[in-house]
Every structure is written in C-alpha cells, then in structure tokens.
Amino acid sequence: MSAAPKTIVDSGPLDVTVVRRDFPILSREVHGKPLIYFDNAASAQRPAAMINAVRNYYEEHNANIHRGVHTLAEEATTEYESSRTAMAQLLNAPSEKNLVFVRGVTEGINLVSQAFVRPRVGPGDQILVSHMEHHSNIVPWQLLARQTGCELRVIPITDRGEIDLEAFERLLSDKVKMMGLVHVSNALGTINPARQMIERAHAHGIPVLLDGAQAMPHMPVDVQALDCDFYCVSGHKMFGPTGVGMLYGKSNWLESMDPYHGGGEMIKHVTFEETLFNEPPAKFEAGTPNIAGGIGLGATARYLLGIGMERIQAYEAELLEYATEAVSTIEGLRIIGTAEDKAGVISFTLEGIHPHDLGTILDHSGVAIRTGHHCAMPAMQFFGVPATARASLAFYNTREEVDQFVSAVRKAREMLA
C-alpha cells in the first residue's frame, strides 16, 4: 500500500501550527529573531509540497513536454497537464481547456489586451479600470489606448477604498468595450463586489477581466459563479513558483482570439505560405514553457485544495480582525484602506516615521513588511501619501506574530518619532 498523500483532511477550523510545518522557510531566523513574514502580498512562501514537486521533476522526469515519445517526455507532459487540471479545479473552470499557462497576471492582462481587445476597439471606444488597480492592470491598457486611439476611463473609489458603485454605473455605456478590475486590491485589501459589477457590465455587453493575484491566496474563487470573461492568477502570490501563472478565459472568447505569441507548440501545421494555429489553450502557449514552474503550480493547487480555501478564508478573516484591532492601538497609525469587505492586507502610515525607516527597523526584529507604493501609484495619490507600510497576512501567520509586529512598530516609533 502506498503512503497516503500529505493533505489535511480535517474539515474543522484551520490548525495553524500544523500548516506552518508545511512551510520550511518559516523556521528560519532573521537578525537572530524568528522570521515573521508579513510580505505575502508581494510574494508568498512555498509549501514543501511545491518545492518537492519541482525538485522531483528535475531529478526524475526532466524533459520537454508535448512532443517527445520517450518515457521522460511523457511523464513530464502528464505532470504538467495535471497541473492545468488541478488549477481548473481550484478556479472551478468548466474545463482545463479554459486555462492558459502564462508567466503571471501581468502577462495574462497583456495577452487579453493585445489578442482579445485590440482587434475590437478603435477611436471613441473606452476601456474601464478602477482607481485602485495595480500598474499591471493600468499600463497594458494605456499601451492599447496608444495603439488604437481608444480611451482609458477610471472608476472612482471612496475614502474607505471601495469602488464608488454609483459612479461606476454612470460610466457604463455601449462605448465601453472592456473592463479590467482587481478582485482584491494589493495596496488596500479591498475585496471588490466583482460578481455584482460583472453583472452590470454584462448588461451593457462589456466583457470583464479580473486580476485575481491577491484574491486567489485568500479566498475561494469560482470563475463560473463570478461569470467573469477572463481571470488571471500569479503562481508566486498563491504559494507557488515565480514566473508562472494562469489565465482563465471563456471558451467562445479563447476560440475567437488570435494568438498572442507565435512559435512552436501553438501551431498545427506550418509552411512558409501559411500556418494553421492550434486549438486553445495551446494556441496561446508558444515555445517551451516554464515546465518546472507549471508542475510546482499544480502541486500548490492540490495543496490548497487539500486544505480548503473556505477554511483559509475563515482563519484569515479572524486574524485580520485581530490584527486590525491590535494596530489601531498604536498612536499615530493611520490605516489606508478601510473597506467593509477586506482581505488580509493592512496598509498604513505612521506619524513621524517614513515607511522605509519602519521597514528597516522592523527587519531587525525579524519582521518582513513591504514599504513603498505597492505598484499602485494612483491609489497612493488618491490617499495623498507617497508610500505606505503594508503588512499582508497569509494563513500561516499567527496572532502571536501580530503581537510581536505591533510591539516592533511601537519600538520603531520610540526610536524615531
């Protein structure tokens, strides 16, 4: 009998001491203090299941995929394609054929903007994005606007960092050809009412892309229930490898689109006169992909499915509430982004201390946070701050870590302010 797969079958509340053992890096020290990793929104940590899958691929199955007939090539192909299936399950996509391997959300958005939207827009047309987007959901559309003469329109946000839904409604018209929206804001933590907004956009015939980079690590994502047209995730934000991610697209759109990159794998037949393209998703996957990354992403998806995103969401909701209350007791601290519906992100400023100084001082207490504009400069401009400090949580973080973080922030304040 083979050993049972190492998944947590418990359906009760998440046991954080158990899941922490799955992440080897969490046992290291920084400046002689136990690592407290609160920079999950920049890049999350990796479970042993993922690290082992990547190593196992290199040690046991390393070969190119989709083409060879030898054993290693077939094993590698099976592993890689099983990742697509696992990701389809995690996102509740109708089929793995709806999922295109990309480098991450950034490439996913560029792909949709160039291969889907570009042939469909011209001068006078509009693209909608929100004021809280990451640069990756702004710049590709600005490039498209330059190429086609279409116009980028911005959905305003409120002082709490929520979408202004009335203003959103007023922006909807038949001139709008596409909407790109962040599902969960990396800079503010806001969980946007994506399903409701997609329904309103669809009423005007507007397809919607959701940037799911920060949603996927924190909550269940169901692309069919959301009814989004496209959904992008990045591997490294969801405890998987860097340089790999997934783009979900509705079948009719993927079939109607031209390829994004040209090359091997995305073709059926090539002559110098003409090339017959492959079916989706292969049509969008030119060249040898990040095979190890793809296999690692599949292992991560299976790991998350084993724990259950509902349990992760429930644990983090409690931790966020605890952390929000704890940091609110720090004098001079202002939380940037106070939406009703939030994921585990606390962006803040501290009176008298620049975020970069705070980042350096916290690092000496073993606490890793992000400081800066979080690739969301327009959101920072909205709140009138050049930069914030950001503590972003994951399901392996604990209340004890929050307490230590709060005391480290207090110490920094004593030192500099």
Binding site: H31, I353, H354, P355, H356, D357, T360, I361, H364, T371, G372, H373, M377, V385, P386, A387, M415, L416
Partner: protein, 147 residues
C-alpha cells in the same frame, strides 16, 4: 549590522530637528530630489554669490536617512565654496561605496555619521539623494534621482 550603526544619534537628531528646513525665496539655484519608488521627495535651495555658497536649505518628505543627509548637507556647504560642496559630495559617495579611511572621515567631519548606511545597500540612494539634488541645482537641472 546593528540598527544603532544606521540610526546614529546624529542621524536621529537631524531627522527630528532638521536644520535649515525651509523654502528660500531668494534662492539663486534650486532643484528637486525625487525617488518616486521610495517615496522620497525633497527640494534643495542654494544662494550663491560668485563661487561661494552663501546659504542652503531644503524642504520635503523623506526617510530619516534622506532627511538627516539633507540637513547635514545644508550645514556642511553653507559658507563654503561651490567646489568644496562638490568635493564633499564626492567624498560622501566614496564613503557610501565602502572606501573607508581616516582621511575621508576627517574630510567629511560630521557627515561621517552617515557611514552606517553603507551596510544597507537599499538605503544608500536615500543618503545620496539630497547631494545629487544639490549638484543638479548647481548644474541648472530641475530634478535629480538616485534610483
């Protein structure tokens, strides 16, 4: 690497009570030091008479390292020649690049308090920003960045 090496008492003092922290209405030269990625944004003002720097001041929002470096700079260059200001800038760059010797420390005087920054590669640009803005002001450039 200790935190006290980076945030020496002099650095903390200059950050808390920045010297010459004001706009200068009769400045002959001014420039902006902007590290947008870091969120450091300062303006440096100089009043020159011939080759002499008569006065220097700055305003802005930045990390303690930038604030202290700017504050110390205004004290170090006021009343000195333009060439002296530029040579102190070069000496500070050498210090931050790790070329420590006693002569350099002597030349820099109080500015040597910024020595600890060299242990923090990501913060070196913060210490250099005011000086690059000063250089830009002398050269008639509007903005300087060390990113």
């Amino acid at each position: 690497m200790s935190l006290q090496e980076l945030y020496r008492d002099a650095v903390i003092d200059h950050n808390r009570n920045p010297r010459n922290f004001s706009e200068m209405e009769d400045a002959t030269h001014h420039s902006r030091g902007l590290n947008a990625l870091c969120g450091d944004d300062i303006r440096v003002y100089l009043k020159l008479a011939g080759e002499a720097v008569r006065a220097a001041s700055f305003i802005g929002q930045a990390s303690a390292i930038t604030m202290a470096s700017a504050s110390m700079m205004t004290e170090a260059i006021a009343g000195q020649s333009r060439d002296h200001a530029l040579s102190q800038c070069a000496a500070l760059d050498d210090l931050l690049a790790g070329e420590i010797d006693e002569n350099l420390r002597l030349q820099l005087g109080p500015l040597a308090a910024l020595e600890g920054v060299r242990q923090y590669p990501s913060r070196i640009r913060a210490a250099r920003l005011p000086w690059q803005a000063m250089k830009a002001a002398l050269e008639g450039r509007e903005v300087a960045s060390t990113e």
